[in-house]
Structures are given as structure tokens and as C-alpha cells.
């Protein structure tokens, strides 16, 4: 483990590398030198032996010629001065030993003939040279040398090399150690700086510029890298902060958006709970903003929203938070209030800020708001509950007539819960067969003839019993279930109406209410056409009744749609006429064939002269626009008489017939006159 850490460290590796290099270099050098030296020594010895042999041979020529063995021995004796030569043998021309020299008596390598020389071991070296005088061969000479001095020299050289090797290893080790210190010390300092930057996020750390050129360059590069990192880090943080801010700001008004509002609300609720203080929440929805947007364009709408935001912002305290949470919805978090009354004061102040008209692009625009108020007083509710309560209170304010404030109370809570219950029950109501249709007759006031039945949706819940339309229709509209319910009612009614035609001698029309939500769907016209096709009801026998709210959208779009409905062949009636506040001016351009005057006008008809005047003028208006007038809610014979006098064309009401699940009974009457349930009504009918 320890060894592994040493060999893995740079220091260990440098030292090991230096030592290994020195060892290998020395070994190779020594071996090469020894081999080369030995080879060279042998070559030198060989050359020396050849020279000696040739000289001795030359000096022996006369002795050979004159067969003077003694002289030859004398000549060979000269070899004594050559310590390496241990044997010299002179052979005559026939190869017979003629003279010899032996350095010591114990060595005897002179064989008797030149053809039969002794075999020598590795410690000896020999040469055999011919002795010639000019071209004439006189004999041969054989010299043997001892290699001992070569071997001794070799040994000495190895010893010296070993000593030098040890010295070199020591020097290499020391210099390697110094080298590795010079390299690794600055590297360790770099490592330390890197560690600080990486783990401590300390971008102030800088490496010291020291050491060799390369190390100093590395340190400089390292510092540049840290600076770059620091720069990028700060850029990233700025970008994050910017994103964080963007993600929590409404781009149009610059106010906090829903996200920031939700976060802040949770914090405010938590704080209030901890400090046992009250806090309030205001939910503000502009009244009629959609109308402004649709009629004057989105740019004006946006401009208006900014102005509204500015006015609201001018009324909230520094500690409060105004946010825009939806298209025309604003919220205010009221921190540290004493109770609901403080919240009410704040809401009134905000409402009051909107009371004066806005000047936008040279126009004067008035807009109100419905404000729901909820307060947190250390109850068990949380931020979500608080928001729901404010939302419910805001809807209550809308229902109560708009441009007002409304505190949340337990009744509202019950209503909200009931709406939720109804919504969940309504989802399966059609499938369970709980939705059914009643038909209320409408008569021609002149001819007293039945002209049509109005189809009315009914809901009989298995457990809850009969639920009136006034309760479930708004729920259906808010939840979008109205499409399903409306389509079901229309299909059922159309089937029923087809049956009527077989029973009645006269054509009997069917009137079906279509809510604004249904009408505004893209497939509205196609859906109605499909139902007519499926049921086989002739289009002219269907009257579609629409309220004024269908014209809250863009008039061109509504007009186009109404035109297409007319082209189908159906007739159109404007329902609940007089209750809305939309302009009558464009009614003439729309293809309505009838106006249905709301029951509220009929109610006081007999008692109030103003009501009579109002109804008269409405009827007059309709006539001017060449529309028929149908009056709802006729409950008294006097009302019937008055209306007939005023010129109303058709009538509907309990006096003339209640909604009924089995309308075919009325078809049996040959005269088709209204059938009253009481004597009074019969009298009235007979007028």
C-alpha cells in the first residue's frame, strides 16, 4: 500500500525514473565497454602475436636455412621479454619441431609437428605464422599467449564500473530527489489552490508564480483559469438571479406574478401563524374587462391593466404585496392587520381607486372590480384555503351585482362546497338517466293557438332529489358540463318534437335554450345541424333561444355564427330581453326573429304604470325591428289581457301552462287553445 502510494506519486516516479535510467545507462555502458575492451584487447593481442611471430620468424630464417637449432633457440629466447607470450614453437619446412621457447617448464604446448597443434582453452590465445624468406617457405612459428592479463583487466574494469555505478546511483538519487522536489513542491501548492477553489468555492485563491518556466507557466494558466471560472460563476449567478426574477414577475405590469404570489402567501400565512397575528387576502377581478379587450383590442386592454395596476399599487402599504395572478385578476396580501374590518377598509380603498374613469388613447373607459376578502385569524386553514375563500368571496361579489367587495363567510363556504358536490354529481348524471326534459307551452295571443313548447332541463338526483335549474345550470356552465347537458337536452327534445308532428294537425315548434358557453364553442353550429340530421326534425320547427350574453364576445364572430344558424333554417329568439346591459343598437343587424321579454317586467305590470310603459316601449322597439315579441311569466289573466292589448305576439307562463313531462296531452285539443288549470285561467283564455 505504502509502496503503491510511492510509485503512484510524482515524486516517487521521478526518483525511480532517475535511478532506473542511471542504472540501465551504467549497466549498458559497462557491459559495452567490457565487451568492446575485451574484443579490442584480444585483437591487439592477436596483432601483437602476429608481429612477434613474424619478427621471430624472420630472425630465424638463417638458422632454419643452415639448420642451426641452437641459433634458433637463441632467437626464440628473445620472447622472454614479452611477458604475455608463454610458448614459442618453431617448425621447419616439413613441419617438424625445430626450436622452442617455454616461459615455465610446466607449460608445454609445443607439439612435435605443426600439423598436430595442442588444443587450447579460453585463457590462451595462439597464432601460427609461416616463416618465409621472400617467397620461399622455410617453416612456421607458433606462439601462445596467456589471456590472464586481459581477464584481470576486465575484472578491474568491472570493479571500477561498479564503484562508479554506486557513485552515479548516489548522485542520481540525490539529484533526482532535488529535481522531484523542485517539480513537486510548486505542483503541491497548485494542488492546494485547486482544492481550495474546488471544495471551498474560494475564487480569491491564487497560485504562486514560482519554480521552473513550465511550472510558472502552469501556475499562470491556473490563475487565469480561476479568474475565468470566477467570471463565469458570477455571470451564471447573475443569469440565475435574472431568471429567478423573470420567473416571478409579470411581464406586462412588472408586478409579482402568480408564482411569487403563491410563495409569498405561504410565507405570510406561516409568519402570521407563528406570530399569532391576523392577515388578509384580497382577490380582485375586473368587471367587464373582457368586453374592453374584445371591443377595443388587446393593446388597449393591456394599457388598462397597467393603469389599474398603478392605481392599485398606489393604495397598498409598503408591507403589503400586490400581484397579478391572471388576465384581469389581482391579489393583495395584507400583512399584519388587526382583523377583517382592516381588510374591508383596504378593499374599499382599492375599489374607490378605480372609480374615476381611465383616459386611454383619447378614450374614457370606466371599469369596476369585484373584490373577495378572506382573513387569516389563526384558524386551521392554510394558504390554499385562504386563496379559495377569497376566490369564493370574489364570485359572491360578482353574483351580488359586481363592483363591490364581499367578505368570505361560512355561508359562502357552504355554497362553494355545494357547488363542488353538484359538479361531481352532475358528471355522471346523464349516464345515470337523472337528466330529463320538461316542456312548457307557448301560445299565439291572437289566435290562442299553441305554437311551440320550450324544452327545460330537469335533474332528479337519486339521493338529493329534485335539483332546480337555478342551482345546477350555473354549476354546469362553470364546469363546462353545459356542453354535454345542453346537447343531451336538445337531442331528446328534437326526438320528442318529431313525435309531436304526428299527433298534431298543426306544426308545433320546439324552443331550446343554448347557453353562451355552448354557443361560443367552435362546433356549436355543426353540433345543432348534426342533431337535426339525426332526429329528422325539420329546421324551421326549431327555435334557438340565446341570451344577450352571447354578444359579449366579438360581435362579428357572433353575427357570423347566428347567420349560419339562420341558414340552417332554424329561427332565433333573444331570451331574457331587458336584463342585460348590452347596447340595443346592433340588435337590428343580427338575425333574431323574436324577442322574449323577461318575466321580471311582467311581474309588476298590473300594479306599476312605469312597468307598463317600459313593456310598451320594448314591444314598440321590437316591432320597429320587425321582430315578434314573446312574453314570459304570465301568471294572471290581467297580465294576459294587458299584454295582448300592448301588442305582444306570443305568451308563456303558469297561467297558460306549466312545464310538463308529457306535453302530448295538449296536442289532443282540437282548438289548440290554452288550457288553464283554474276557472280564472279559463276565463282569461276565453277573452
Amino acid at each position: 500500500m505504502r509502496l503503491a502510494s510511492i510509485t503512484n506519486s510524482l515524486a516517487g516516479r521521478i526518483t525511480a525514473l532517475v535511478l532506473t535510467s542511471v542504472t540501465v545507462a551504467l549497466t549498458v555502458f559497462t557491459l559495452s565497454l567490457v565487451v568492446f575492451d575485451r574484443k579490442s584487447s584480444v585483437q591487439q593481442l592477436h596483432a601483437h602475436l602476429i608481429t612477434s611471430a613474424d619478427m621471430v620468424g624472420q630472425n630465424s630464417t638463417a638458422a632454419l636455412d643452415f639448420r642451426d637449432g641452437e641459433a634458433a633457440n637463441q632467437v626464440l629466447q628473445a620472447l622472454e621479454r614479452e611477458p604475455r607470450i608463454i610458448v614459442g614453437c618453431l617448425y621447419d619446412a616439413s613441419g617438424v619441431l625445430f626450436a622452442k621457447y617455454l616461459r615455465s617448464p610446466e607449460v608445454s604446448f609445443c607439439s612435435s609437428t605443426a600439423e598436430n597443434l595442442s588444443v587450447l582453452d579460453e585463457t590462451k590465445h595462439s597464432v601460427l605464422r609461416e616463416v618465409r624468406r621472400k617467397s620461399e617457405r622455410l617453416g612456421s612459428i607458433y606462439l601462445v599467449s596467456d589471456m590472464r592479463d586481459v581477464t584481470a583487466r576486465e575484472r578491474r574494469m568491472i570493479l571500477v564500473a561498479a564503484a562508479l555505478g554506486c557513485l552515479a546511483l548516489l548522485t542520481g538519487g540525490i539529484s533526482g530527489s532535488i529535481l522531484q522536489r523542485r517539480i513537486t513542491t510548486p505542483l503541491r501548492s497548485l494542488q492546494q489552490v485547486m482544492h481550495e477553489v474546488a471544495t471551498g468555492d474560494n475564487f480569491d485563491a491564487r497560485a504562486e508564480i514560482a519554480g521552473t518556466i513550465e511550472i510558472a507557466d502552469l501556475a499562470r494558466g491556473f490563475n487565469r483559469m480561476i479568474e475565468e471560472l470566477e467570471h463565469r460563476n458570477s455571470m451564471t449567478r447573475q443569469a440565475e438571479a435574472s431568471l429567478h426574477s423573470q420567473a416571478r414577475t409579470d411581464a406586462l405590469t412588472g408586478l409579482p406574478n402568480r408564482r411569487l404570489f403563491t410563495e409569498s402567501l405561504s410565507q405570510a400565512v406561516a409568519l402570521a401563524r407563528r406570530e399569532r397575528k391576523a392577515m388578509g387576502l384580497l382577490y380582485i377581478d375586473l368587471d367587464g374587462f373582457k368586453h374592453v379587450n374584445d371591443s377595443l383590442g388587446h393593446s388597449v386592454g393591456d394599457h388598462l391593466l397597467c393603469e389599474v395596476a398603478a392605481r392599485l399599487g398606489g393604495r397598498v402599504r409598503q408591507s403589503d404585496m400586490l400581484a397579478r395572478v391572471g388576465g384581469d385578476e389581482f391579489t393583495v396580501i395584507l400583512r399584519s392587520i388587526k382583523g377583517p374590518s382592516d381588510a374591508g377598509v383596504a378593499a374599499d380603498s382599492l375599489l374607490q381607486s378605480l372609480s374615476s374613469p381611465f383616459q386611454l388613447d383619447g378614450r374614457e373607459i370606466s371599469i369596476g372590480a369585484s373584490i373577495g376578502i378572506s382573513t387569516f385569524d389563526n384558524s386551521h386553514c392554510d394558504a390554499i384555503d385562504l386563496l379559495k375563500q377569497a376566490d369564493s368571496a370574489m364570485y359572491a361579489a360578482k353574483r351580488a351585482g359586481r363592483n363591490r367587495t364581499c367578505h368570505f363567510n361560512s355561508e359562502l363556504g357552504n355554497q362553494a362546497r355545494e357547488r363542488l358536490t353538484l359538479e361531481s354529481e352532475l358528471r355522471g348524471a346523464i349516464a345515470r338517466g337523472e337528466i330529463y326534459v320538461h316542456y312548457q307551452p307557448e301560445y299565439d295571443l291572437d289566435t290562442k293557438r299553441l305554437v311551440r313548447f320550450e324544452a327545460l332541463a330537469r335533474w332528479r338526483h337519486l339521493a338529493l332529489g329534485e335539483i332546480p335549474p337555478i342551482r345546477f345550470i350555473p354549476v354546469a356552465e362553470e364546469s363546462g358540463l353545459i356542453h354535454e347537458v345542453g346537447a343531451f337536452v336538445m337531442e331528446e327534445a328534437c326526438k320528442e318534437a318529431v313525435r309531436w308532428q304526428t299527433l298534431s294537425p298543426f306544426p308545433v315548434q320546439l324552443a331550446v335554450n343554448v347557453s353562451a358557453i355552448q354557443f361560443n364553442s367552435d362546433s356549436a353550429v355543426a353540433d345543432i345541424a348534426a342533431i337535426l340530421r339525426r332526429t329528422g326534425l325539420r329546421p324551421e320547427l326549431l327555435q334557438i333561444e340565446l341570451t344577450e350574453s352571447v354578444m359579449m364576445g366579438p360581435v362579428a364572430v357572433s353575427g357570423e355564427k347566428l347567420k349560419r344558424l339562420c341558414e340552417l333554417g332554424v329561427t332565433l329568439a333573444l331570451d331574457d330581453f331587458g336584463t342585460g346591459y348590452s347596447s340595443l343598437s346592433y340588435l337590428a343587424e343580427l338575425p333574431f326573429s323574436s324577442l322574449k321579454i323577461d318575466r321580471s317586467f311582467v311581474k309588476n305590470l298590473s300594479a306599476s304604470p312605469e312597468a307598463l310603459t317600459l313593456v310598451r316601449s320594448l314591444i314598440g322597439l321590437a316591432r320597429n325591428m320587425r321582430m315578434k315579441v314573446i312574453v314570459e311569466g304570465i301568471e294572471e289573466p290581467l297580465q294576459l289581457e294587458l299584454l295582448r292589448d300592448l301588442g305582444a305576439n306570443e305568451g308563456q307562463g303558469y297561467l297558460l301552462g306549466r312545464p310538463d313531462g308529457n306535453p302530448t296531452a295538449r296536442l289532443d285539443r282540437r282548438d289548440q287553445e290554452p288550457r288553464s288549470d283554474s276557472t280564472q285561467l279559463q276565463e282569461a283564455a276565453s277573452i
Binding site: 639448420r67 642451426d68 641452437e70 637463441q74 621447419d92
Partner: protein, 192 residues
């Protein structure tokens, strides 16, 4: 090295060649010498010595032939001619002439004086003394009379004696290797 050997104490007074060994030498020279009496063997050794002497002596003029004149005993001359005539010595062809006339002597390169003719040697020396002619005799007195090389019999061997001064005077050069084997006779000795 050469110098150390050449200046080695190899200058000796006598050379002792064993006669049977000479026979072998003669065989080595591809000279067929029939085994005969001891006297004949001595003659053969002397003839071989003459032949070898030609190899260790340099004449001032290089020629293709080497003319040997044998004066005195005719038997010796015949044997010499039989053995050496036509042979090559260092690239020169040997011609042996028996008892040449005085005029012919000066043309010789080597004059061999047979021992029986010692009385005539003075006359011969008078003719050839200043010429580059190597004179070879068979006894010690030959050198005292002005001869250059004596192949002197001593017991069972032949010794070479050299009068170096005569050799030099005649303008001849003798190899040191030969001198190592020979007995050099000084002028004083010569005078004695």
C-alpha cells in the same frame, strides 16, 4: 622488437650443425644427395652451404644469372655443377663453371676454392680482390690469405667463418642473420 632480437646475444663463435640434420635440409631443398662416405657427406654439406650463402649475400649489380666458378679439385667442381647448375637462388639462375681461366674468373659472382688448391688462392685473390666476387674456401687459412667465407670442418660439423672486411672491401653485403651464425674473423686475426 626486430632490433631487440637482432641485437640479441646471438652472435656466436661457432655453429654446430649436425650432419644427419643436413641430409634432411638437402631433401627439403629437393636436392638429391646420395648417401656416401663421410667425406662425400661433408662435400654435400659444403655445397648446400654455398647454395644458402648465395641467398644471404647481396651483389652490387642485380643480374639474372649467378655464375659460380669452382677452382681446384675437379671432383668438387663436378659435384657442385651437378647439384647447383640451373638452380634458382632468389630469382637468379645458377651456372657453375669448372676451373675457369683468369679472364673468366672476373666474370664470376662467386669463386669456390677447393682445398686442394690452397697454393693457388693467392693468385686468385690478386685477380678478384677488388671485384665484387664472393670467395669461398674450405679452411681457416683461406681467410688469412684474403678469402671472404670459410666453410671449415670442425669435428662432425661445418663452421662458417667470415672475413667481414674483405666482404666490405669487395662491395658485397652480407645479411646479419648469416653473420649471427658465422664466426667473424677480424683483420688482426686475418693478419695472423
Amino acid at each position: 622488437m626486430v632490433r631487440s632480437i637482432s641485437s640479441s646475444p646471438a652472435v656466436r663463435k661457432t655453429t654446430r650443425a649436425v650432419l644427419p640434420g643436413l641430409i634432411v635440409v638437402l631433401f627439403a631443398f629437393t636436392i638429391s644427395v646420395p648417401r656416401a662416405l663421410a667425406q662425400n657427406d661433408v662435400g654435400a654439406v659444403r655445397r648446400a652451404y654455398v647454395y644458402n650463402l648465395t641467398k644471404y649475400v647481396s651483389w652490387p649489380q642485380s643480374k639474372h644469372t649467378l655464375l659460380i666458378g669452382v677452382v681446384g679439385d675437379t671432383g668438387t667442381g663436378v659435384a657442385m655443377k651437378a647439384m647447383l647448375d640451373g638452380k634458382s637462388s632468389d630469382g637468379r639462375i645458377i651456372h657453375v663453371v669448372l676451373n675457369p681461366p683468369d679472364s673468366g674468373l672476373s666474370a664470376c659472382d662467386l669463386v669456390y676454392v677447393a682445398s686442394t688448391e690452397t697454393s693457388a688462392s693467392s693468385h686468385i685473390f690478386a685477380l678478384v680482390n677488388v671485384l665484387p666476387i664472393l670467395t669461398v674456401g674450405e679452411d681457416s687459412r683461406f681467410l688469412t690469405h684474403g678469402g671472404m667465407v670459410g666453410l671449415v670442418r670442425s669435428a662432425d660439423r661445418i663452421e662458417i667463418e667470415v672475413n667481414l672486411k674483405s666482404v666490405r672491401t669487395a662491395g658485397l653485403k652480407m645479411s646479419s642473420r648469416l653473420l649471427d651464425l658465422a664466426t667473424v674473423v677480424s683483420n688482426k686475426e686475418t693478419l695472423k
